[in-house]
Symmetry: C2
Subunit: 413 residues, 2 copies
């Protein structure tokens, strides 16, 4: 007998008929001899509906009250799921976040789980019941409802897998698994059977959008086997697990792209200690999250110049394109004080990345990437690398072409 | 400074515009120097919508899961109310049943409050905040959500008034107060300024529907001053309070009627100990609530008959008309065993009642009632009395005529 966590996303429980289908699936898993804990998201669109309702009332809704409102979507679904199971003759019990023992910190809207006491779930599993838990929500020390942020139901599922020492955490979604690249962009995209946590983290943060990044981190920290699969298909999906020797044989395992970023460059900034910190503190105060940061080394370090004159450098970074106008205005306002000669921006960019743990011990990966893009006539305006990832910023119109060319060059099809 | 509980019913908070209006009212009360706790029902129709959703899934939904689902209507409204107050610049905090300290027994669907610890509400009131509490819900000892049954928000409000030692519990509704009779039936109906708890209890249980009966009992037991008034009018409504000398001067204070009952009669039942108990236990096992019960004395007590032959009697009772068919079938099935010669029923009846504490020391009230009905040619098929009430069962078609005639005869206009 295994203990299995099954998380169903919003598109898999978007209406009563779909909830019946996933309930059927949970029941079949139980009848096959397993203990089953189901985690549900709200029906697709419901959280946005509630959010818009709040925004209609006030532009900046109180976060505690908003959490009270937003948690309703998952509460509705666990009750409906339980009633559906009951109608199918199955023993079941629903749990809101706090009833499942999920304690969080006080940060409404993006709370972190601080403690998870699954004793009540264990009792009900031992009685032969399916337990269905409302995703996305917990309770802080005051007894108030908190929510875990977008994709928070993934975190609920993985945290329950840890606390209940589950054999597998199944993430049911509307795709077959994790692909080597976006199938909408590249026909040759291929579903992977396995991917390691580190690769998945790079893919999540680069916009693959299948799983929420914090839940992958949590899974990695506790070694939870995560199985991403389609809610309405019996095919095996993609297992997210520890890195193994097979994975390392391949230098690149996936190609991903994002067109939701914009670049801002401060030209000819004095190359002095503290300048980068001043620039970034202005941006972070505005609540804008910076992704890539590039600063080119000056021609000579300042103390090696003849006349002690301060060297100048160019400083570039990328931000979400929704924050482009705000950030550009901030930088133009601060440019003079910082000493930049000019502030320019470009909202017409894309970021293309290749990811793979095998990169660590394969030479020539970067070379092949740059050659491939050059052969297609694509110019690189920024480059950023990590141990298992290389990202390039290019003109937006070349994004899909770049993805297809790289997918082929690294033989991912 | 007074401490005021304001409960707004479903029709008073049926949409965002109406919630804004009642929030404005609560804020004005606070600005006048009072401490304000608001109790909200769900939007009108919402509880029925959720109930129908559950019934669509399964005919007999699990009561624990149903409570989880039904409690959503009030949860939505307190969050919206809090956001509305925030948008109006007012300090406010929302509380679900358990956050307000409302503990109940385990009877899902019609739980009773067993404990109410208002310490968190007191803390927030002391900080100058309006507290808005979700009506109709509490939490049992397992940490599960319970609901208090239809009209449960009234109970929440009065229980909070007791626990917080409030000066008044205002029940806001869509009528101006408590009337001498139903204004839809009788143009001469007059709003009462004051009514005592006992009279209100009789009116509630007889179908006046303005306030839930348990909340009136609770108010009576703890001497809570209850003010029933219109949510969108500043006029004074009706105060429900202790009986006073003025009230006793009038023999009859209200006339009420109900057309939602049906009569069942077991003809020629043996007049033996235990027969009534056997009849009623069959009905109560089916979950049907009996209202009036009438058994006529036999001509002679059994031990005074010549030959020791058992005397026969007729046994009648009324049940909600929705339970009529079920109950009639049950009685027909049990009739032979009980020894009834025949079981007959009538779903075409109405009950008309007069209520007043002054009845206790005014002679001739019953006489005037019977004379008035007789003068209109209305036959009485059952009569039942309490210390402050006389009810008559009549043919349904005469219900409104009877109400108007009695209202005039007792000079209530």
């Amino acid at each position: 007998m295994s203990r299995i966590i099954q998380k169903y996303g919003g598109s898999s429980v978007a209406n009563l008929e779909l909830i019946k289908a996933v309930a059927q699936r949970a029941i079949e898993t139980k009848l096959a001899g397993h203990e089953v804990v189901v985690v549900l998201s709200a029906m697709k669109g419901e959280t946005d509906r509630l959010l818009n309702l709040a925004k209609e009332i006030t532009e900046d809704p109180d976060k505690r009250e908003l959490d009270c409102l937003l948690s309703i979507g998952e509460q509705t679904n666990v009750a409906i799921f339980a009633l559906v199971c009951q109608a199918m003759g199955e023993k079941v019990k629903s749990f809101l976040g706090y009833q499942a023992g999920i304690k969080t910190d006080d940060v409404h809207g993006r709370a972190r789980i601080t403690e998870l006491n699954p004793s009540r779930l264990k009792t009900e599993l031992a009685k032969g019941r399916i337990c269905v838990v409302a995703g996305f929500q917990g309770q802080n020390r005051h007894g108030d409802i908190t929510t875990l942020g977008r994709g928070g139901s993934d975190t609920t599922a993985v945290a329950l897998a840890v606390a209940l020492d589950a054999d597998v955490c199944e993430i049911y979604t509307d795709v077959e698994g994790i692909y080597t690249t976006d199938p909408n962009v590249c026909d040759a995209a291929r579903k992977m059977d396995r991917i390691c946590y580190e690769e998945m983290l790079e893919l999540s943060s680069l916009g693959a959008k299948v799983m929420e990044i914090r839940s992958v981190e949590l899974g990695m920290n506790y070694g939870v086997k995560i199985h991403v699969r389609h809610a309405h298909s019996s095919a095996t999906g993609t297992i997210i697990c520890e890195e193994d020797a097979d994975m390392e044989k391949t230098p690149v395992r996936g190609v991903t792209h994002s067109v939701n970023e914009a670049r801002i460059t401060l030209l000819r900034v004095p190359d002095l200690p503290g300048v980068a910190a001043r620039i970034l503190s202005i941006i972070s105060k505005a609540g804008v999250v910076v992704d890539m940061i590039i600063q080119n080394q000056s021609a000579l370090p300042p103390d090696e110049t003849d006349d002690g004159q301060i060297q100048l450098t160019d400083f570039s970074f990328t931000v979400p394109s929704g924050d482009y106008d705000t950030t550009l205005d901030l930088m133009k306002a601060a440019g003079q004080e910082i000493g930049a000669a000019e502030v320019v921006g470009d909202n017409n960019i894309a970021k293309v990345s290749i990811v793979g743990v095998g990169m660590r011990n394969h030479a020539g990966v970067a070379t092949l990437m740059f050659q491939t893009l050059a052969r297609e006539g694509i110019n690189l305006s920024m480059i950023s690398t990590s141990e298992i990832k290389i990202s390039c910023v290019i003109e937006k119109k070349y994004a899909e072409l770049a993805v297809r060319a790289l997918h082929e060059a690294f033989k991912l099809g």
